[in-house]
Amino acid sequence: MKRIIALVLVSVTLAIALCGCGGDKTEGGSSKITIGIPQDLEDSLDPHEAVAAGTKEILFNIFEGLLKADSNGNLIPAVAKSYSVSEDALTYTFTLREDVKFHNGNTVTADDVVYSILRNADDGSGNALISAFLNIDSVNVEGSDIVITLKAPDPDFIQYMTLAIIPKDQSDTATNPIGTGPYKYVSRSPQENIVLKRFDEYWGEKAYIEDVTLKICANADTIVMDLKGGSVDFFARITTAQALQLEGSNFEILEGTMNLVQAMYLNNAVEPFDDERVRQALSYAVDPDEIIELSFDGKGTKIGSSMFPAFKKYYIPETADVYNVNIEKAKELLAEAGYADGFSFDITVPSNYQPHIDTAQVIVEQLKKIGVTANIKLIEWDSWLSDVYSGRDFEATVIGVDASTMTARAMLERFVSDSSKNFINFSDPEYDELINKALNTYDDEEQTKLYKEAEWILTNKAANVYIQDLAQLVAINKNYTGYEFYPIYVLDIAKIKPAN
């Protein structure tokens, strides 16, 4: 008798368990999506403090500025419903929308906007989180309008108005972000996932999918398995090899560009990279075309300075041809610099970015030809942020640098000698002067010219070994559609919708 009861119990439990499985599957297609991301949002959830491109692309969904970028690279009104610029280009007047709510239910007031802007402006010591904001003379509220007065005209200023608006009385933004975007933050389990939920009181077109789980897939090798197994529905950056594996499966592969500058960034302050000739020698030895061919199946755009092709206005295609492979020349330069017998150095690469690891592998081979030994050192992403980026304790690293706003400044200002973002310790008085001049030039054409000159300096001084703007391959489950590429590093989840 006992045996029979036990048997019945077991089969009932089993049946329930199996039902559970089945139920999960049918629900999957409706109003939730699991998006794989390559790293945890380690740096900060505070939109003003976040530094990693991977963090900012997610925060794009939670926060908005007075204006926001659309998928064509234009600025469209967000928290502000309209704005006007005075004739002398010194006064910007923004009219707030009345119905914009924060995720905590409070309505966005002019005070919140002023707080958010001032938080990034001059802190009294002449420093600012956003250096363009040092130019702000005053921020005033006039009725429902925000009036920003500048000290001097700045054609790029409007681009910075995508700055995230946060509630003024909130102190824990870094762990509990509250914004006005189409998605609100629910929770984060370190190294596991981040959960977002559709914000139903969003002022604009609401998101299609209600529940979003951002699953951290730090191990690049398991991404295909996660995708095929159904635990991840979407991954914004897969490699060509991974795309090949997904052929014939339930995934669509979309192709765009990543809009970042992939390079072997060199610490210009350490030997032997403090010698321009050594950096140039490496640039002559490294062949981006071969890297693109070997590691990326020919997908990618070779670049030669800290600017990517999507920034048509500033991009100089010719910079890519300055260091066409020339082993003899590279050896000569090394000999001149006193390294005729070569030298050895470490390339630090974050282990969660397979494309950068693959690139580094090819670089190691290419450098052997000029007698330089490079060793790949893989580290975790959070160590990369703390040691390489913040601590500047590295010799070389392969990584992609993106632009936070649609301005040349976003790409170029970081290489000014005393910039806090100048992690490669690039130092060139002429460059500093050019950027400084560009920042203080209000004629658009003249400013563009100065920025282009600055790009040439980065190229000629071989600040880094520039490689490419990576092709972006997006894997999206055929149950979903609507993904849009942006000219900046952004993952707009609100546009993704169920396919039926």
């Binding site: 090798d221 090949l244 071969e290 070997l294 592998q361 050192k377 893989l378």
Partner: protein, 264 residues
Amino acid sequence: MDKTKKLKFIIGLSITGLIVLMTLVGIIKTPYDPCAMDGAAKLAGISLKHPFGCDQFGRDILSRVLVGVRETMLISACVVFIGVFFGTIIGTVTGYFGGWLDEILMRLNDAVLAFPSVLLALVVIGLYGSGRYQLIAALGIAFIPSFARIVRGEVLKIRNLDYIQAVRLYGASHLRIIAVHILPNLKTVLLSSIIIGFNNAVLAEAGMSYLGMGVAPPAPSLGRMLSEAQAYIFSNPLTAIFPGIVIVIMILGFSLLGDTIKKN
């Protein structure tokens, strides 16, 4: 030794011999530079030039397998050496002297034993970065407890034997008793556990490298090759098949050898 056993022994020995030969070849000379890339030979199939084909960077898989075997063998040898060396010391001391030292060391031993070795290795690599030496250290530590246990058990048995008592009555020092009368008798037990340990070390190294925690790229190791091949397993299975087969053969050889030695 009966016939099947003898056959097993011979097969095991010849496979192990083959692996050792591959290791030697890997040390001396490979057909190609294992890291040299060739765009034209990208994912090339089997040919006279490349008997095992080429991987996604156009690197010769045969050369990489040879060097990979060398890498795996050297790491495994170091790991087993660390395990045996410290394991024997701990096992002998605790087994021979007993008392509170035995209690403390053995409880520590149990703690390490209870800890999954992959986790332990993760901790070491998290702290000191990934690489060949960190991997050796991590796996070496993880291998100590099992050897310590085996040796301790054996020493416990031997130390109460009559001849040891006799030597003790002669007034021999502890050191002499351990070195001259106990250690040599551990030989057989150690030999078979070394071979089994070697087996485990090969698997552990392959596993850790597969997870990206072993030797740094572009240097080949069998586990890393498998891990890199994963992306091509359906489109170009060659990249995974050869390193996979070699791992299987290695394990098979050592298992057969270990089995036959143990039973004698």
